[in-house]
């Protein structure tokens, strides 16, 4: 089974949204952890032992466990997704911790991400931001020809960089202002860079930024901790583009006028 390590584990336990939470010391259950285990597998192992000991297992979010779904995500020793750059919690392996290392695990902390239980937070604010403009109003159906709309290689690449956002919320977790600017900017940047997204650019940026405000996220004050925490390494340059597009849209956007039938 290979090498194992013992860890000094402290986990945030909170039974419900309004219940008081506190750190529990699970060092006793964090011994002989295989270094090949991922961080989530480590929590699985601890949970199995907690169940055997008659303690309620730690609640944490997870889904694909291959770093693309954005479900997992806890703050490990003050850093969202732990100490490794560009790595989600599920892709973080225990070999990156020293034997005997102290580990403190907490949920994302932001007003707009209320804690559901233990390490699970409610990130549906992100869904509502997407509903406010993170889409293209287009006929769905068969896929169009790949070369029907010509997109320069560099534009396609950059849009893809923005689209790499998995919506995990690490940017919010890292931000001292609890701002989701990087998430909103990445989603906006993805659509607004491409010709398919441009017709609705103004409406999209106004709608999504407004929703971001209404959800109670803070504003960006250029700390750039989001970029450092992002497992997909989304650049803060997208926030600059969002700011530019938002300022421009605020100056020029007028809501469409309803047109009567038959006047084409």
């Amino acid at each position: 089974m290979g090498e194992t390590i013992d860890l000094k584990l402290h986990v945030w336990r909170q039974s419900g949204p309004n219940a008081p939470g506190r750190f529990e010391d699970y060092t006793h259950y964090a011994k002989a952890i295989p270094t090949h285990a991922s961080f989530l597998e480590f929590l699985d192992i601890v949970n199995e032992r907690l169940i055997l000991a008659g303690i309620e297992p730690i609640a944490f979010d997870h889904d694909c466990r291959e770093g693309i779904c954005g479900m997992c995500g806890v703050v490990i020793n003050g850093r969202p997704h732990g100490p490794r750059k560009a790595t989600t919690t599920c892709q973080l392996h225990m070999r990156h911790f020293r034997n005997g290392e102290e580990i403190w695990v907490e949920p994302w902390r932001a007003k707009a991400f209320p804690i559901v239980k233990d390490l699970i937070v409610d990130r549906s604010a992100f869904d509502r931001i997407i509903q406010a403009g993170g889409y293209i109003t287009a006929r769905v159906g068969s896929a169009p020809d790949a070369n029907a709309i010509l997109i320069p290689k560099q534009v396609a690449e950059e849009a893809m960089d923005a689209a790499a956002c998995i919506g995990c919320g690490a940017c919010v977790a890292a931000c001292p202002n609890g701002s989701a600017s990087l998430f909103v900017a990445a989603k906006l940047g993805h659509f607004n860079s491409l010709p398919q997204g441009k017709p609705e650019l103004d409406r999209r940026v106004l709608g999504m930024v407004t929703q971001h405000e209404k959800e109670g996220f803070g504003g960006c004050s250029n700390h750039y901790l989001c970029e450092a925490a992002c497992p997909k390494e989304i650049s803060v340059k997208w926030i600059a583009k969002m700011n530019r597009d938002f300022i421009r849209a605020s100056l020029r956007y007028a809501p469409p006028v309803e047109r009567k039938e038959g006047y084409g």
Partner: protein, 249 residues
Amino acid sequence: MASSQVLSFTRTAIGQKALVAVTGIILYGFAFFHALGNLQVFLGREAFNQYAEMLQSMPKLVWATRLVLLVALITHVVLVVRLARRAREAKPAHYRFEERMDPSEGILRRYARQTMLLSGLIILAYIVFHLMHLTVGAVPGLFFVRGMAYENLIYGMRTPWVAGFYLFANLLLGLHLYHGCRALFQTLGLRHPQWDRRSFAMALSITAVIVGTNVIIPIAGLTRLVGGELPEDPQEVLRTGEEKHTVSE
């Protein structure tokens, strides 16, 4: 995308930040020209007092500038306080370990961005003190005679705690502008990878001129490198000033 429910520009954080950046540019521009003007202290008493007189001879321009600066300053401060309060609400709880994020970030940049509110607050207090000292002349115990800008400045800087406060506040101003002048490009969406280096370099050199000047003047005054020709006792200046006055009459 219910467009009717879109928040007005100044009610969003991005809009407020943009106004903070624009008012910041206004204050920044003033600080630059103010520092350049003050460099004339090194040209001697005559030149500096003439410069001060020249400014005072244009009261309309002076008051228009003061009005613009006052509005800019108030807007800057009020919006920042609002944004900070909002940010605090958005982050009600903190982590056991705060922010051990990016080791590649320099300590100066890190310190500058973490202390924007604090440095801003101290700079605000400094602006009030500076105006009371050299514009109104209402700081008890400090030499002030209207029309003697050079003497007012030099005798002020000979007082160690005054020079010390000017030094301290201007070093903080340096930190504040260091973060601010980089951040404003981001806030106003004026960044582009091709231009980043040039725009940052430009903003940082202007900052260096402002801070350099504002730091050199108190040091030069305190060490008598500038204004050493003035007598130690300010009363003597007044007496000789009166004599000259009577002579010229």
